[in-house]
């Protein structure tokens, strides 16, 4: 499963341009799917029968899109101005590599050199208009021959294994969810299950609305990556959650109050089976659950997430042991739903 997640992290798929990720997942899922379709926005919806039909339709969801950049302007000197797809801290992209468009034109995100800044400027966050992408073009004409306005860009895709089962990659949010869903999809399932690989979560859970409306789930579990801030600057509650301390089961975040009964069921299963779990100590972030919960006449929702450091940056860090435990916890939950 970890190799699947690594492969998925390497694929380019920022919000609105998830094609490469969807194609790969669809090819992997096809031999196992009883039904598979791509909806109008590009979400991939896969149905697989299980040993029994659950009391109400069950949905597992993960989003395929990652944060990235989009080219907004090509100036006459050949530099590219850009905007973000999804919420990205401007400071974390300075000096980072990006790969632009389907042809993967390499570039570097640059900023005004320090000797040209004033003391006041150095105290504040750089403005987006002060950042640019340098692809080494000699002038605007050469640049326009290589990239177009509206091209997407993704961060560097190198995967690094750090100590203690920690993994560095881009897009762990939410290729970890996609990888876990794909792995479960290939196994014998206790109950009929819908798997939704959604699009455009990072720009407002836009794929999840339509997917949930179509599938009409009664129970949905979102499998995600969530923000861990356990670095030296954080104290206490502001660490939010910790990689290596097990799956994160939130009771609430910035967008959803999760179903209490589902939360109790999941955490009870974890405790009974020796799976460590933690919860978020700060009400922040949001998942596709905020869209799914409010679809049609409502749906009961839960989330099982990986604690990921430096989320929404070019280098996410998560713990592969957590990923395995998330899958184990989901297996227990699905088994608990068997009729």
């Amino acid at each position: 499963m970890i190799d699947t997640i690594k492969t998925l992290c390497r694929l380019p798929g920022p919000s609105g341009w998830e094609d490469a990720v969807r194609d790969w997942i669809a090819a992997e899922a096809a031999p196992y799917a009883d039904q598979m379709m791509t909806d109008a926005l590009g979400s991939l919806l896969v149905f697989k029968k299980g040993r029994s039909t659950p009391k109400e339709p069950v949905l597992l969801a993960a989003h395929m899109d990652e944060v990235g950049v989009v080219i907004r302007e090509i100036d006459d000197e050949g530099y590219l101005r850009f905007g973000f797809l999804g919420g990205v801290d401007r400071r974390v992209v300075i000096g980072k590599r990006v790969w632009i468009g389907k042809n993967r034109i390499p570039g570097l995100i640059g900023m005004k050199p320090i000797h040209l800044t004033t003391a006041d400027e150095r105290k504040t966050m750089p403005k987006l208009k002060d950042l640019y992408i340098d692809i080494g073009a000699a002038d605007g004409d050469e640049a326009r021959g290589l990239v177009q306005l509206g091209d997407f860009g993704v961060f560097d895709d190198r995967v690094l294994e750090l100590q203690n089962d920690m993994l560095r990659a881009k897009a762990i949010d939410d290729r970890v969810g996609c990888g876990i869903l794909l792995t479960l999809l290939k196994e014998e399932l206790p109950v009929d299950t819908w798997f939704a690989f959604t699009v455009q979560e990072e720009v407002g859970c836009r794929g999840a609305f339509g997917a949930a409306f179509r599938l009409q789930p009664g129970v949905a579990v979102v499998v995600e990556g969530t923000t861990a801030a356990d670095g030296p600057a954080s104290v206490g509650a502001r660490k939010v959650c910790l990689p290596g301390h097990g799956p994160v089961v939130p009771f609430q975040d910035g967008g959803t109050i999760y179903d209490r009964a589902l939360f109790e069921q999941i955490t009870r299963l974890a405790d009974a089976n020796g799976i460590p779990w933690q919860t978020k100590t700060l009400l922040s972030g949001g998942t596709d659950a905020q869209a799914i919960q409010r679809t049609r006449a409502g749906c009961r929702v839960a989330a099982i997430s990986a604690a990921v450091r430096y989320i929404h940056s070019p280098s996410c860090v998560g713990c592969t042991r957590d990923f395995e435990q998330m899958a184990a916890l989901l297996r227990l939950l699905l088994a608990d739903m068997e009729v």
Binding site: A237, R260, F263, T295, R296, R300
Partner: protein
């Protein structure tokens, strides 16, 4: 009306944890309507009728403080459910569902202008609290003449109006759905799904609205005790003229003087109901409330009775 308000103010029910108040409300409504509970916990009370399908919504959730972290000394850090007024919450007594009592404090030396949720905590005097548990204000409702002082008149007085409406709906022609919604305070999350299931032809949301009859209130003219408020505008909705018209006619038929309000602050369940499915004509009936979202709110019992009367007349006319 005071007894009914008291019965509805006391049960626990912050956003996302509405079971106790839902149970109380269902028990009160059961003699008058068929009651059911949906996936998110909304209570839907249906009194069938030959007329148009009408949805009257009152949110039953309250604000709360949710425990997010317990530090090494046992002090509980929290997040807010809804628009909690931190300055008003400071030094107040709060209680968790488990019965654990605590006091809201701010880190020593925090200046008033720096007051923020990450500087606050609850001192539970060493009693343990689980992450995710929610604390609410304590306080016994008190009647002073026509007025009532209590926490959580937002929106348990709205719930009282809705229950009273059901009690007076024997002559109603409408196919009446009175819905007690969840999670309004955290973003109007319950009303939309209830409206999807009910699919009403028109709807009215009942909620409190800020009274402007206190020193220092410059903009606005709403007064406690001056009658039900027909609200035509807030941040969530432009009230549908057809529904506003029905409310006006109903009040006029009973000789009830109403107030009017168009405001740029606040929102109600109408915001979600009006956008449900292909859209629902939705209006707002409001009751003036002093110092909303503080531990001691004040409204008028007579206003509450008159709101119920106006709605009872409306559901006789459709």
């Amino acid at each position: 009306m005071f007894d009914l308000i008291r019965q509805l103010v006391l049960p626990y029910g912050p956003s996302g944890r509405e079971t106790a108040i839902a149970d109380t409300i269902e028990a009160l409504c059961a003699p008058y309507a068929q009651c059911s509970r949906d996936a998110l916990g909304n209570v839907i009370a249906h009194k069938p009728g030959p007329g148009r399908r009408v949805m009257i919504a009152a949110h039953m959730d309250t604000l709360g403080l949710v425990a997010t972290f317990v530090d090494d000394d046992g002090f509980v850090r929290f997040g807010t459910l809804g628009g909690v007024n931190l300055a008003a919450a400071l030094h107040q007594r709060v209680r968790f569902d488990s019965g654990v009592t605590g006091v809201v404090r701010a880190d020593s030396g925090t200046a008033a202008k720096d007051l923020a949720v990450d500087k606050c905590y609850i001192d539970t005097c060493g009693q343990p609290v689980r992450l995710g548990e929610v604390a609410v204000f304590t306080g016994e409702p008190e009647q002073v003449g026509d007025l009532v002082i209590s926490p959580y008149l937002d929106n348990r007085v709205g719930c009282a109006i809705a229950v009273e409406l059901l009690r007076r709906s024997a002559g109603a022609s409408a196919d009446l759905y009175v819905v007690f919604t969840v999670q309004e305070e955290v973003g109007i999350r319950g009303a939309g799904v209830a409206a999807f299931a009910v699919a009403p032809e028109l709807a009215v949301a009942i909620d409190v609205t800020g009274a402007s009859d206190l020193p220092g209130c410059e903009n606005g003219s709403t007064k406690v005790g001056a009658g039900p408020i027909i609200k035509t505008l807030d941040r969530s909705t432009i009230s549908h003229p057809m529904v506003t018209g029905l409310l006006e006619q109903s009040a006029a038929a009973l000789g009830i003087a109403v107030q009017h309000q168009a405001t740029s602050r606040g929102g109600t369940d109408a915001g979600a109901i009006s956008l449900s499915r292909g859209g629902v004509p939705t209006g707002n009936l409001a009751i003036a409330n002093r110092c909303t979202h503080t531990p001691n709110e004040i409204c008028s019992l007579h206003d509450a009775e008159q709101c119920a009367a106006v709605l009872a007349e409306l559901v006789r006319r459709v």
